[in-house]
Amino acid sequence: MTRWDAPAPGEREAGDRTWAVVRGAYDERLPAPRKRDWRVLVAVAAGAAVLAAALSPPGLAVWSSLRDAVQTEDHLVALPTRGRVLVNATDGAWVVSRDGSKRFLSGYRDAAWSPHGKFIGAALGNQLVALEPNGKVHWKLARRGLIRGPHWSYEGFRIAYFVGGALRIVNGDGTGDHLLTHDVRPGPLAWEPGTHSLAYVNRTGSIAVANVDRPRSPAHIRTRLSPRQLEWTPDHRLVAVGAKAIGVFSRRGPQLVRIGVAGSISAAASSPDGRQIATVERRRGRSIVAVGRREVFKGAGAISDLLWSPDGRWLLLEWPTADQWLFVRSTGRKLVTVSNIRATYGGDPSLGGWCCP
């Protein structure tokens, strides 16, 4: 009797509305205290004491940051979930695969994933280069001046990048390079999903949103945030990260939400589904990592960057003070620390992206 399985009128729309309500109620609920197994707790505490003694300044931070499960690795053995991570270091870029293997792309800077992870856009001196993760170069484009910050559009058909003080656009196959604007502060860029609209920060500090295929005046969103990072969510809200607050804007500009912090924000990123924002707040010499309002990690010193895993289950934190990477479950219930980051990738490594399998 298949008619029993037919959708009822309004089923999907009601489901979307209800999920938003249920999700809100879930975020607000206070979980009941869980019963702890004291034997496990004692074992974890003993392990933590050894760890803290072995790693003096970072060890202190690790001690303060223990959760239900802590796993430590001297070097990265494997990523905890699918995808590949790009690392930008002084001498070049690294592609870190799920199995922990690493490929060095010598001399490249500011490497960024194409949307499906098939290509990397990177700067090599005054050249913009599109290459495969195995190092095979597809095309190069030379410009007068240092190239910085290439950024792929949602389907990979456009790349925005900075050269000198200008923002330029090139097609994903290296053709059609053109100037978009000089009225830009080199820094954050964000392509709106499903469009060729690009958000950037202009010289006055406002956010500008321009359709790069239709040369006309961009829309402006006035804000005092001085955004250091811009991101679009899948439902076309724009997240702007400033030093003291995060603003969430509707597509046409009104600020929907403002999230202020007591300290300063050193990094933030919205989850792949756009439903949560992870933040790193620096306060009184400590870095506090939170997903929404839930604190998932706290450590001494600076945590400079964070990435979401493609499946939204893990956060990767760059913790230069401890010379470590931390993989933290977005629920805060599991932690994997990886040490010797500078020795592995060279001086001053930064996270370039965690992309698709």
């Binding site: 399985d5 089923e11 009601a14 879930y26």
Partner: protein, 178 residues
């Protein structure tokens, strides 16, 4: 239904530990049937949404106390069906008091599936109690014994309501329904 009991247990466990994705899996798995069950009993989209939503909110509120050894579905469906019966009874009382005109103002959207709509319309002719047992049996696929347990009715009452309800449905739709 896709999704085994072990999947469901894992989703409940994950949701209890704070995993939004597990909560979402649980929601996506159970929403369609919870909403359809409510709709087939109340025959009103707004009320169905409210009823199914209330059931999920009750689930979230009780999540930490939920015993994972028990299946989640029957627990949710019991809430949905009982609230739907209560709503239908209340509407019947309002109708007697002269509020029937409101129904046309809150008419359901155009049917997406005419066969399903005719079934819903035929069900609407039955009493809420008869609708509920038929929905539990044929949409949610519980056995009469399970329905008795869910609703707190004697097994014989469940069987007789099923029989009478199906006979009336068959007469309305002009076909045999089992």
């Amino acid at each position: 239904m896709a999704g085994s009991h072990s999947d469901e247990r894992a989703w409940v466990r994950g949701a209890q530990r704070g995993s939004v994705s597990d909560l979402e899996s649980l929601f996506e798995h159970h929403w369609p049937r919870a909403y359809r069950a409510a709709y087939l009993v109340v025959h009103d989209t707004a009320a169905a949404e409210d009823i199914a939503q209330e059931a999920f909110l009750a689930a979230v509120r009780a999540l930490d106390r939920f015993d994972r050894r028990r299946p989640f579905g029957p627990w949710l469906h019991r809430i949905v069906v009982n609230r739907a019966i209560d709503w239908s009874r209340a509407r019947a009382l309002r109708r007697e008091a002269g509020e029937a005109g409101l129904e046309s103002a809150a008419a359901s959207p155009a049917p997406e599936n005419p066969h399903a709509e005719s079934l819903a319309a035929a069900l609407a002719e039955l009493s809420p109690e008869h609708r509920a047992v038929i929905v539990l049996r044929h949409l949610l696929e519980y056995t009469p014994g399970e329905i008795a347990e869910l609703t707190g009715l004697p097994r014989g009452t469940v069987n007789s309501r099923l029989r009478r309800g199906l006979d009336q449905l068959a007469a309305t739709l002009g076909e045999d329904i089992r």
